[in-house]
Amino acid sequence: MGQTLLQVEDLHTQFFTSRGVVRAVDGVSLHIDAGETLGVVGESGCGKTITALSVLRLVPDPGRITSGRILFRGHDVTKMEDEEIRDFRGNDVAMIFQDPMTSLNPVTKVGFQIEEAMTAHNRFSASLARTRVVELLKRVRVPAAETRVKDYPHQFSGGMRQRAMIAMGLANEPSLLIADEPTTALDVTVQAQIIQLMKQLNRELGTAMMLITHNMALVASLCERVVVMYAGRIVEEGPVEQIFRSPQHPYTWSLLRSVPRVDEARKDRLVSIRGLPPDLMNPPPGCKFHPRCPFVVDRCRVEEPPLGEVGVNQVARCWVLMRNVKGEDVEAAKASALSVEAAQKLKAEASADPEAGNVAGG
């Protein structure tokens, strides 16, 4: 590893709608090393997919990259000519999407579609491409690959279609594979097979992977490093083990506790995050998470925290940080569904009593 493959610097992608400007990606910086697996997690509308689409310069229409740099092996993607960008998309980076049915052409044979991905980018000759198709389908473990190349997408099951999409993504041996919710539409046993496959491919071919998902378990399973996004910004980043063991941003913390675990018998209540994600046309002042945060302090409402170092290779955007939160506040937040209200009531009582002054800046 070591060598930086992709470096995104202060990326802003905005959508210019009739109602106003939506800041979908608002100053995101991240990097992926060669052969590394990076997870990008967050809920719908946090900007994770738009970040990925920006990297490929595929932002849909009212949207535009307004500033920032996207360096792939030192070349700025935002400044590439049409010819270069085509070359970059097919040969260097590939993307697989959530729904394998809508991303395959239903009237063309699966084998031909994979072949087309190769000939379109002039990486392989037509005859070589044809022989490689079977090889690729075998690599993604499609059984009876020799005969299945002649099938149409509807003859494939959901899991097989996703394998075909991955085969297509790998056809030109890209150094980075962007997978946007690759297993969300699949059944659990099929999901397990696809995760296994992606792990193997990463190990065998050294393809770097950017996994975009809302599923924390998937990140735990596949990634080495994780970026947590909220309202168009990165709120926390670090090595997977560290983030799962000691998340410092209250959003990461809540996200990890809002999902039940299949291996735990506890029947505690889930931590629910009050309210809704902010309107990106009109984001709240200060920290974007403060209206939903159970540990909010006055400073959060007026001043946005920077991404500060909180551990070895771990950064978080928070004035409070989980390690400074008092135990009883954490318990209060865990205690009930109305956790936020309960926690704030505790906080109000605490601030009324100056002796109990608690969560000061981090």
Binding site: S44, A192, A217, A220, S258, P260, R261, A265, L276
Partner: protein
């Protein structure tokens, strides 16, 4: 209000629902009598006040079973006894009377609410249908329902599009509660929601269950959510229930190899656990429900099947195995 009729009035039978030998075949026209055997001989019991989780992969028949239980589809054969009455034979007002006690919450909060009706109308419709209370009572009840599910009671004049996905799901829940049911079927009710919102809805469902002594049939493909919410869990494969047990027993000591494979394939949000986890890979794909395999339906993918042998020849029955209250349909139960 006078319509409120507590579920516990007929307390005697601990079972609220008993499904025995239920079949639902959808005939394929022009295939010489072939049919999709969506539900193919299901036995299931739901106790009063419990949450029964129903899991299985797409196409295993869990949603069809839910529609049989709620009498939205007529069963091809079998008995479904709800609160002492066999609902498969009911027609007309008798059926309507039973239906009032069972309601459903659907997966897609965008598709299950009429976009041209206000929230007030949506919530009042079931009260109108069953002529519950006076007009004033109904309006008051609508506001009470909104408050129950954590929405502002003054939202009655708003339309569904003005709400977020999570709020719409709350409206769907309020609608199900409107007629004071004793039994609610949640068909993938939280699957379409973001994780933080999902937690809110799960907690709400638990609160409502406690408050109104509701019985839930909770259908979902997310086994972690099912384990969290359910008291007992039933696993379906290709139109049949293959195992039923207490939620902890089924996770700790699964008896059927399919249950075991299903559970082993779920990732856990913990990198340390993930490094050790070894999913049991199943061979091949789910066979067609038009022409299910002979003997045990799972034998084509089972890691411990004896084929040729008993597994491909004789269909296993649901029998007690493992813990108390645990049943599994496998010739070699517990031997994975």
């Amino acid at each position: 209000m006078q319509a409120a009729e507590p579920a516990s009035s007929v307390a005697a039978d601990p079972l609220l629902l008993r499904v025995s030998g239920a079949f639902k075949h959808f005939p394929l026209s022009g295939f010489g009598g072939a049919a999709v055997r969506a539900v193919d001989g299901v036995d299931l019991e739901i106790r009063r006040g419990e949450t029964l989780g129903l899991v299985g992969e797409s196409g295993c028949g869990k949603s069809t079973l839910a529609r049989l239980i709620t009498a939205l589809l007529p069963a091809t054969a079998g008995k479904i006894v709800f609160d002492g009455t066999d609902i498969t034979r009911l027609r007309g007002w008798r059926l309507r009377r039973v239906r009032r006690k069972m309601q459903m919450i659907f997966q897609d909060p965008f598709a299950s609410l009429d976009p041209r009706m206000t929230v007030g109308d949506i919530l009042q419709e079931p009260l109108d249908n069953f002529a519950i209370g006076s007009m004033r009572d109904r309006r008051r009840r609508v506001q009470e329902l909104l408050r129950l599910v954590g929405l502002n009671p003054n939202f009655t004049n708003r339309y569904p599009h003005e709400f977020s996905g999570g709020q719409r799901q709350r409206i769907g829940i309020a609608r199900a509660l409107a007629v004071n049911p004793s039994f609610i079927v949640c068909d993938e009710a939280v699957s379409a929601l973001d994780v933080s919102i999902q937690a809110q809805i799960i907690n709400l469902l638990q609160d409502l269950q406690q408050e109104f002594q509701l019985t839930y049939l909770f259908i979902a493909h997310d086994l972690a959510v099912v384990r969290h919410l359910s008291d007992r869990i039933a696993v379906m494969y290709l139109g049949k229930v293959v195992e039923t047990a207490d939620r902890n027993d089924i996770y700790e000591r699964p008896q059927h190899p399919y249950t075991k494979a299903l559970l082993s394939s779920i990732p856990v949000p913990d990198p340390a656990v993930e490094r050790e986890r070894a999913p049991i890979a199943l061979k091949g794909e789910i066979p067609s429900p038009v022409n299910p395999p002979s003997g045990c339906r799972f034998h084509t993918r089972c890691p411990i099947a004896r084929v040729p042998g008993i597994c491909s020849e004789e269909e296993p029955k649901l029998e007690p195995h493992g813990a108390r209250d645990q049943v599994a349909a496998c010739h070699f139960a517990g031997q994975v």
